[in-house]
């Protein structure tokens, strides 16, 4: 729904596209102070769950953000404690047999070997919501759209009567083609609360984009994740900071507050996932 509303906004944005121009400029900013960045999750899948630890870097710096190594990282669900092992610098993983359970509250604990952002100890808490079941998925081709046409991916599932927030990921032949903030769909259930969804849009794929285009015989898999409201708002905020601010639609940007303690940036999220597949036939 949000995307549809955006369509309207894009339309009146056209007038700017007609007349506006861009040009590269130099900006001088004072370097901000360094902070810890956490990006971690645990899902209902049985797999190696990952927590990334990095720190911030100057915005206009050429350098990559540095990984934070040598930390002690663990996830506990109140009864069991899973210790994460640093597999590559900054990447901490559980063993491959770990899975999250709906209804459990997961706590992430981080102890750094030396302080980043003034602290060594960081933690976060996230509740894993009840499972959502994606019954099936279908695709529809719109030949006239974009340059070579677009695929609409539709999902069929039951929405619960509670307020829900969903994120949809799409996989082509087993590979996630919606890996970035700007690629996947995220929505609340404001417009379909409690309904059975007969083909709601899970995403759009453009034939023009090599990494999105579908050919006959490809397997398309869709994944539905039920997210906490706070996490959804965090992702919305992250997404809008990714797209930058626009004097028409956005207020002054601000740092998005996650759920990590002591002022660290990022989020530790627990969520259930459900998937359905389809084999793509011809473009009709």
């Amino acid at each position: 729904m949000k995307r549809l509303l955006k369509k309207g906004l894009t339309l009146n944005f056209l007038i700017w596209m007609l007349i506006s121009c861009t040009e590269i400029m130099e900006i001088e900013t004072k370097p901000g102070f360094t902070r810890l960045v956490v990006d971690g999750s645990i899902t209902t899948d049985t797999m190696r769950h990952t927590v990334w630890l990095t720190s911030t870097e100057g915005y206009f710096s050429d350098l990559q953000v540095p990984p934070v190594s040598g930390a002690m990282v663990s996830i506990s669900d109140g009864t069991t404690v899973f210790t994460l092992k640093e597999t590559t610098p900054g990447k901490y993983q559980t063993t491959g047999s770990v899975f999250g359970l709906p209804g459990r509250i997961y706590r992430l604990n981080i102890k750094l070997s030396k302080p980043v952002g003034g602290f060594t100890d960081y933690s976060a808490v996230s509740e894993l919501l009840p499972r959502v079941v994606l019954d099936s998925v279908s695709v529809k081709f719109y030949p006239g759209w974009a340059e070579k046409g677009m695929w609409e991916v539709k999902g069929f599932f039951q929405d619960s009567p509670d307020p829900d927030f969903y994120r949809f990921w799409l996989y082509r032949n087993g590979r996630n083609i919606t890996g970035s903030l700007g690629d996947w769909y995220i929505t609340d259930d404001l417009f379909f609360n409690g309904k059975y969804l007969q083909g709601t849009t899970l995403g759009w794929l453009s034939q023009h984009q090599e990494n999105e285009s579908l050919q006959a015989g490809d397997t398309l898999m869709a994944e539905v994740q039920a997210l906490q409201k706070d996490f959804t708002e965090f992702l919305w905020g992250m997404r809008s900071s990714l797209f930058g601010s626009n004097p028409l639609f956005s207020g002054p940007p601000a740092n998005v507050k996650g759920n990590i303690s002591n002022g660290a940036i990022g989020y530790f999220a627990a969520f259930p996932v459900s998937r359905a597949k389809i084999i793509v036939k011809t473009q009709n």
Partner: protein, 788 residues
């Protein structure tokens, strides 16, 4: 504060009470001074338009008055013989010898100037005006001045001229939004013949809704807002429509690069009824088929305006006016449509109860609405609508008690309806259910009285008070919130029930001291409140306005403003110099939570945060209104800050339109009898912005880490525009007059920053660079104006 005796009165009771109270008082006290009064209307000889602001001066007694917005004046003088001088900028002065023994009615028609003014007359008139004018912090412009100023795309716009005044800042490049003395753009009350205009912009802000051909004059009150008006903190923009030519049928029009206009006016019943009808339509979309991109080619994109005014004279004492305005913007393409616009109407009855008592009763209606939706019929089709609607009745009385007292009093009641948004699924078998935010209703009542007192020949005092009541009425529902702004329970209110009342007492005081014929000192203080606000946190503004009222959760914003000013005239050089200093404190200033969701949010009130604001500044202006060279130069120094505990970690930050330095230069020069040139130059410090200072990795994306709010600034803004007007030859007997206008916007091609975005370097994914978007290069335009 919330519990007062008014709370239990029904709105209609209040209306009835004020009508009963004020009306008989007005009638009975009409004849209070024993001295005779001379009164009447001042008009333009050529077309019968009432001349607002014309001065009437009794030369030897040093007394005078200024004609009101309806062209009416009343001057009390002891019996005797006088020479009365009637004057107005751009008109020939008329002097009348009178013998005053009893009340006298004298209607005067002034002849528009053909030749340059005699310097002596100018000197005398300026001296008179200086003695008469107690008002400060106001800027008045008539439509003739507006016409001379170079415009964007040849589209003459009064708001663009207002933006060139000291103390007024443009909100963003190309926009007709404005900020007065550091305020927000929703803190300006914009009225067209007394009806509120909620969104004064067309085409995403590039043009204002005011068609200059239909406008008589415009006054901007930046401080000392008259007690008759209120409800906004920063300013009042009072736009008055022309009454229409009562002498003969006439037409005015123009054909320009983006729009055409036509205005017709004339008497319907001779000396009784006149009309003016004005229309404008843009045709920007006619050029869209030339666009390379197919998606753009099929778009529809235009706006139109219609203005109608009817004036009817019932008899010497009674007149009726009807003003109607309708304007709408339309965007449409294959998959989406959008429309937005204003509707306003006012019906006014002017009555002279006696020559000392002028009465006005108005019924006003305003509406702003927009819709957004899909044009295709699919499962996802929808239509989103939102609006605000007002019905108001107001009564104003001007009581010319004696030569030393002019009393103005009245009452206003407004019924507001807020429809913040509803989405209807329009597809035949839609997957969506309808979604509707609950409507809100409110009543706003105000009672005011103000007195203009001539204490001595040198001291003038204007004291006023306004009592405003703002009441939320059912049906409706609202949420209660905890201290962390999380919604608790929803409360439903039954129809007609007043569930909340805010009372604001707004005192206003202005004083002026005439040092001598050339200089005066002025000071003013005003306390104002704002009860309806706009949910908007972007600087440029979109048509998707959501107005929301004060409520049990939202307290009215309050402002205290004090200003002092010094005014001096150099009659020899026909120059006026003014200097004003102001200081404003705003309590309960509203801002929005970081990353707030303002549209389609039922719990919008949970997104609001409160704090305090402060603004101060100096405004200097040199203005020349007569001679071959006219125009002004102004310099404004101003600052505006906010402090909200939950925003920017509680530290003070620059308000969104804080631009410390602003310079405006406006010059018109008559090169020859038929040729005149105009030049404007504007400079302002860049808008405050929040920049990213660090980067963080999240998933596959690099996320910016931001500075403190509004810690940085966009590059400084400056721009020069020029225009040349060539009038057609004025042959005797020729009815048709043409005029060519050539204008260039952004003469030296300054690429002023509209926004800054940050992009990743394709060759080095770790490197980010800044890219600015600018809207305009050099933009030339040609317009052909005609009248007959």
């Amino acid at each position: 504060m919330r519990n007062c005796w008014f709370c239990n009165l029904s709105p209609w009771m209040i209306l009835f009470t004020w009508f009963c109270l004020v009306f008989p008082v007005a009638q009975s006290s009409a004849e209070s001074d024993k001295n005779p009064v001379i009164s009447g209307f001042v008009r333009d000889q050529s077309n019968g338009e009432m001349l607002t602001g014309a001065t009437i001066f009794a030369i030897r007694s040093n007394k005078g008055v200024v004609a009101d917005v309806y062209g009416y004046y009343a001057l009390t003088l002891p019996p005797g013989s006088y020479t009365l001088r009637f004057s107005f900028v751009g008109y020939e002065v008329q002097e009348k010898e009178i013998q005053l023994s009893g009340n006298l009615v004298m209607n005067i028609s002034l002849q528009p100037l053909q030749e340059e003014l005699d310097e002596v007359v100018v000197k005398a008139r300026k001296a008179e005006q200086s003695i008469l004018a107690p008002a400060m912090s106001l800027q008045k412009v008539d439509s003739k001045t507006i016409r001379k100023i170079p415009s964007l795309l040849g589209e003459i716009d009064l708001v663009r001229v207002i933006q060139l005044m000291p103390g007024v800042l443009t909100t963003s490049e190309g926009s007709t939004g404005f900020s007065v003395r550091g305020g927000q753009s929703d803190q300006n009350l914009i009225i067209l013949d007394e009806a509120t205009i909620y969104n004064a912009s067309h085409l995403m802000g590039f043009f204002s809704v005011f068609n200059n051909d239909a406008v008589k004059d415009v006054t901007l009150y930046k401080g000392d807002i008259p007690a008759a008006y209120g409800g906004r903190l920063a300013s009042l923009l009072d736009v008055r429509m022309r009454d229409g030519n009562s002498r003969k049928f006439a037409g005015t029009g123009s054909i320009g690069s983006v729009s055409s206009k036509l205005t017709l006016e004339g008497p319907l019943i001779r000396d009784k009824t006149t009309f003016i009808l004005s229309g404008r339509r843009t045709y920007a979309d006619l050029f869209l088929p030339l666009a390379k991109n197919k998606d753009i080619r099929d778009n529809r994109l235009y706006f139109y305006d219609l203005n109608l005014k009817l004036s009817h004279t019932l008899d010497a004492a009674n007149r009726l006016f009807f003003t109607g305005y309708l304007g709408r913007d339309i965007f449409r393409n294959d998959f989406a449509l959008m429309g937005f616009g204003n509707r306003a109407a006012s019906l006014r009855w002017n009555r002279l109860f006696s020559s000392r008592l002028f009465f006005n009763l108005s019924f006003n209606h305003s509406q702003y609405s927009y819709e957004l939706g899909t044009t295709e019929d699919t499962l996802n089709s929808f239509k989103w609508t939102s609006s605000i609607r007002d019905y108001a009745v107001r009564m104003d009385l001007t009581h010319y008690l004696s030569g030393n007292h002019t009393l103005r009093y009245g009452a206003i009641s407004t019924h507001h309806s807020f429809f913040p948004g509803s989405i209807r699924a329009t597809g035949e078998s839609s997957v969506f259910s309808d979604y509707k935010l609950p409507a809100g209703y409110a009543l706003e009542h105000a009672f005011y009285v103000s007195d203009e007192i001539r204490v001595t020949g040198k001291w003038l005092v204007k004291a006023g008070i306004r009592l405003a009541l703002f009441q939320n009425i059912g049906p409706g529902n609202y949420y209660r919130y905890d201290k962390k702004y999380q919604p608790l329970e929803s409360i439903s209110i039954s129809r007609g029930k007043i569930f909340n009342t805010w009372t604001i007492l707004e005192p206003r005081l202005a004083m002026s001291y005439v040092v001598n014929e050339r200089s005066s000192l002025k000071a003013s203080y005003s306390h104002t409140g704002q009860t309806i606000m706009l949910a908007q946190n972007s600087t440029a503004g979109t048509p998707l306005d959501v107005w929301f009222p004060a409520s049990p959760n939202v307290k009215p914003q309050l402002s205290d403003q004090a200003a002092i000013g010094f005014f001096h005239r150099f009659p020899d050089k026909m120059l006026e110099v003014s200097l004003e200093l102001y200081h404003k404190n705003i309590s309960r200033v509203v801002d929005f939570r970081e990353n707030a969701q303002l549209l389609l949010n039922e719990k919008l009130e949970g997104e609001l945060r409160y704090g305090s604001g402060t603004a101060y500044g100096t405004e200097t202006m040199i203005r020349k209104e007569e001679g071959r060279l006219t125009g002004w130069i102004s310099y404004t120094f101003s600052r505006s800050f906010r402090t909200l505990p939950e925003i920017n970690d509680g530290r003070r930050y620059n308000a969104p339109f804080d631009k410390p330095h602003a310079v405006n230069v406006v010059a018109n020069y008559d090169l020859a009898k038929r040729l005149s040139a105009s030049l404007t130059w504007v400079y302002a410090t860049g808008l405050p912005v929040t920049f990213p200072t660090g980067k963080a990795l999240f998933g596959n994306d690099i996320i910016p880490v931001y500075s403190a709010r509004n810690e940085y600034r966009l590059p400084d803004y400056h721009r020069m525009d020029a225009s040349l007007t060539l009038k057609g030859k004025n042959k005797p007997g020729r009815k048709w007059h043409g005029e060519w206008n050539f204008s260039v916007y952004n003469l030296y091609d300054r690429h002023n920053t509209w926004s800054i975005s940050f992009e990743r370097d394709e060759n080095n994914p770790n490197r980010m660079f800044a890219e600015k978007t600018y809207l305009f290069s050099v933009i030339p335009a040609i317009t052909w104006n005609f009248n007959f």
